[in-house]
């Protein structure tokens, strides 16, 4: 499967090798062929054709003009329904456009559809969606694999070449882990780089929008487009956004990479340790200084995350009550019953599980022991990184503890499922930027991912290291 990159496609359009219509029709065709993957919650050919019509009439120069982009169905969009993969928002049509998707529209991109995800982004396999599983495009015929999650639809859309890029959101690994599972590039920028305005919230202090793409260059172009300050999001950062693409520099000579010893975990498959070592070797060859670092609180990251994220979620999801919009149960004889039945019928198992956990850890008598303590540990984890980054420019680790697993493997074991985030969660808690790039394969020829973490708002360094590794691997 030779996929053309966004960068190359932009050139082809510019030199009139191909038209916007031809380009997108090509993608439409593939989307229809790959319907069995269940990548999209919402796809409307008509809608795409309408966007093409509009763009053909538009003579202005736009950076992403005509680029087919897939949107995780957690971003509110005016032209398409937004469900968060939940029954509770099954027929919800926002009257507003999220900050990120508006930016992409302003640049002239075409939204091919809304991609599947774990319900409210809660999951690591895109198997908690009300709209069914998404299948990893790299699956062998007899064994459907999970695309990872929660942004599994977006990762699969890029992997199956149904678009030139896709948006995702990452709360504890929801971009990086599916990128790794699907063999694509996925970047979660620094918390605050992209506005959360218009993204249905999972855990506000962790949620961050990001990008899936075929390669690092494309990711740098797309991230540039969606980043920026937004006064409607109080946690949005006022920072200068460099031109990541123009500034890409694969010369890492003289840089220092941190290798955290705590990321060598018992039970990690050999192949994963192997690609990690390979990556370090490649960097060493490029003149990068290898520095063994310690992030001592890493082992607390996962429990900390599974307190903070559900706590925030339990409150963020309280607005889905059947009163104002979305699903409302028919069986309502009282206000309490309306809440109970609406939420019992409207939310899936995993969402309910997390609401329960979150409600519990915030309850009187448990708050100090769980939530407050978790906040303190979160600070320690962030401090670990701050200290480490005094000694190194970026950190390299594996992205996930395994390659893509069979679809139904971990369905009934939430703890096992939560372990998928072990390498991605610490950076989420610290609000740091992280990218996953495909780097090597396992014995079944499934892709494995390497994660590169950078300092706050140092996405450029992350891209530089990523592009350098990517080019050496190719």
């Amino acid at each position: 499967m030779s996929k053309s990159s966004l960068k190359q496609t932009l050139k082809n359009l510019e030199s009139k090798k191909i038209s916007i219509r031809e380009l997108n029709q090509d993608y439409l065709k593939r989307i229809k062929e790959k319907e069995n993957l269940n990548v999209f919650i919402h796809f409307s050919e008509e809608n795409v054709l309408k966007q093409i019509d509009n763009l053909e009439k538009d003579n202005s120069a736009k950076k992403l003009k005509g680029m087919p982009i897939a949107i995780k169905d957690l971003f509110c969009t005016k032209s398409m329904p937004t469900t968060a993969a939940s029954k509770i928002l099954e027929n919800f049509n926002p009257t507003y456009e999220s900050f990120v998707t508006q930016k992409l529209l302003d640049e002239g991109s075409i939204f091919v559809g809304k991609t599947n995800l774990d319900e409210f982004a809660m999951g690591s396999a895109t198997n908690t969606s009300f709209f069914g599983n998404t299948i990893n495009p790299l699956s062998q015929e007899n064994e459907p694999l999970a695309p990872g999650g929660s942004s599994g639809g977006s990762a699969a859309a890029v992997a199956a070449d149904l678009c030139l890029g896709a948006t995702g959101t990452d709360t504890g690994g929801s971009i990086r882990q599916p990128a790794s599972f699907c063999g694509v590039v996925g970047i979660k920028p620094t918390y605050g780089l992209c506005s959360r305005w218009g993204i249905a919230a999972f855990a506000s202090s962790l949620d961050q929008a990001g990008i899936f793409s075929h390669n690092v260059e494309d990711a740098s172009i797309l991230l540039q487009s969606i980043a920026g300050f937004d006064q409607r999001d109080s946690t949005s950062a006022k920072v200068n956004i460099p031109n990541y693409f123009e500034n890409l520099d694969d010369d890492l000579n003289g840089k220092t990479v941190g290798i955290p010893k705590e990321y060598s975990i018992d039970g990690t498959p050999m192949e994963i340790s192997q690609i990690w070592e390979d990556a370090i070797k490649v960097l060493e060859k490029k003149g990068v200084k290898i520095k063994n670092i310690s992030l001592p609180h890493t082992k607390y990251a996962l429990p900390t995350y599974y307190i903070i994220a559900p706590a925030e979620a339990s409150s963020n999801l309280a607005r889905y009550d059947g009163v104002k919009y979305g699903f409302r149960s028919d069986e309502i004889d009282s206000l309490d019953e309306m809440y109970e039945n609406t939420r019992a019928q409207g939310f899936g198992r995993e969402v309910k599980r997390r609401i329960l956990i979150g409600t519990y850890v915030l309850s009187a008598g448990y708050y100090d022991a769980y939530y407050l303590k978790a906040q303190k540990v979160r600070k320690l984890i962030a401090d670990d990184f701050n200290k480490a980054f005094k000694e190194c420019d970026f950190i390299v680790t594996p992205t996930a503890p395994s390659a893509a697993f069979p679809l139904n493997e971990k369905q009934n074991d939430p703890i096992k499922m939560y372990l998928n985030d072990v390498f991605t969660v610490p950076a989420s808690l610290a609000g740091l930027p992280g990218i996953s790039i495909p780097f090597g394969k396992d014995k079944n020829n499934l892709p494995l991912g390497i994660q590169i973490l950078g300092k706050h708002f140092d996405e450029q360094q992350v891209f530089n290291a990523a592009v350098s590794l990517e080019r050496s691997y190719e």
């Binding site: 507003y96 006064q231 109080s234 206000l335």
Partner: protein, 488 residues
Amino acid sequence: MNNLIKGEKHDWEMVIGLEIHAQVKSNSKLFSSSSTKFGSSPNSQVSLVDAAMPGMLPVINKYCVVQAVKTGVGLNAKINNYSVFDRKNYFYADLPQGYQISQYKYPIVGEGKVTIDFKDGTSKDIRIVRLHLEQDAGKSLHDQNPSKTYVDLNRSGVALMEIVSEPDIRTPDEAGMYISKIRSILMYLDTCDGNMQEGSLRADVNISVRKPGDEYGTRCEIKNLNSIKFIKQAINYEAKRQIEILESGGSIEQNTMLFNTSTGKTRPMRNKEEAHDYRYFPDPDLLPLEISKEEIGKIKSLIPELPDELKNKFIETYKLSNYDASVLTAEKQTSDYFNETINSDPELKNHAKIVVNWITSELFSLLNKNNQDLNNSLVSPENLGQLIKLISTNEISGKIAKDVLEDMFSSGKTARQIVDEKGLQQVTDQGEIAKVIDEVIAENPKMVEQYLAGKDKLLGFFVGQAMKLTKGKANPKMLNDILKSKLK
């Protein structure tokens, strides 16, 4: 002062604390740009944020922060450089987010105090625990349809200041005076419009009773009272209820009560099993609120003269009593009116007490009777000044002045105009008065006889008769003097 109430068996003391919810005077809501105008058609002032649509985020309205800081300064309170917005989680149909954004652990304003003044000239400090900012909820309308409840979100997200007092209040009157004082300060500061009828100012009352000297008893909270009258009624009822329980050997269950304004009774709102666990935690959508010393300084410089400062100034400048000065300064429009009146003529400064009386008793009673406000009264401060000047220079008597004021009140004419038109000038001509007195003496020989025989009280009768003949215009002092000398 004895604040105790008599039970069947003992005397009891009330212990009262108030949580006042004051709507911040601001054009837009605490976390959105929707209008806060009162009385608009349902759901016409609702932004995506107020309706808690997916992905919508709150952004703090800085003006509301300034208003809260101003209020804090007015309450002589500590302004906190660092405060945090928390979520208070509970489900209700008119609470679209499923939580209220409030401040829990770190309020914007800390400890302060306000002073209330009693008629007998004494005063008392009521300590403030804190003031914090929070969102108001929407409104559930249960009376629009027999089987449905409608929700109006216009009020959803409007900024409130919750002002919490220590349990320093001991009587219903003190509670009334305290809330009046808070209202006065807010209105001077222009941080709340003080309109209790529209719900811009309402209070939750915490009340317990104890035998004097005992520890605090178990308290009950009466929710959402929106008039001073109801606050007093509710306290009286609730105190009596608690005393009856305690005296018959029972104990008070901590409870949240509602006050029924038509029956005058309180009843429990929910029982213990339904007690909420609000699961407060810092709102991750909002950064902690940090205000620098410089910003606080800047806000302080915007603060007008407050009632207590003005009160002290009045006491010092015009030698008024503490109580008079506090009545004058209770409302900004009153103190403004007093200032304008007394400054309308340099002479009046020497008659400040008279000016106060004419405003707070004569003019106020006319306003009350006619359901009017100082602001729309036809009696301008200058005209009132002129009237008082006419009294102090003996041009008219105080009694006639009352009639003149009534005329001024209804016609809008000046005092001078009325006095001239009606010929109300005082008669100060000795000869003229003497002539009238002679007439009275001549017509009442029997009375004169009795008076001379020792019935001193009859002097009043002669004064009355003489006044009648002069249509009340005779100078009373001269009339008295001449009468006495003639009746020797």
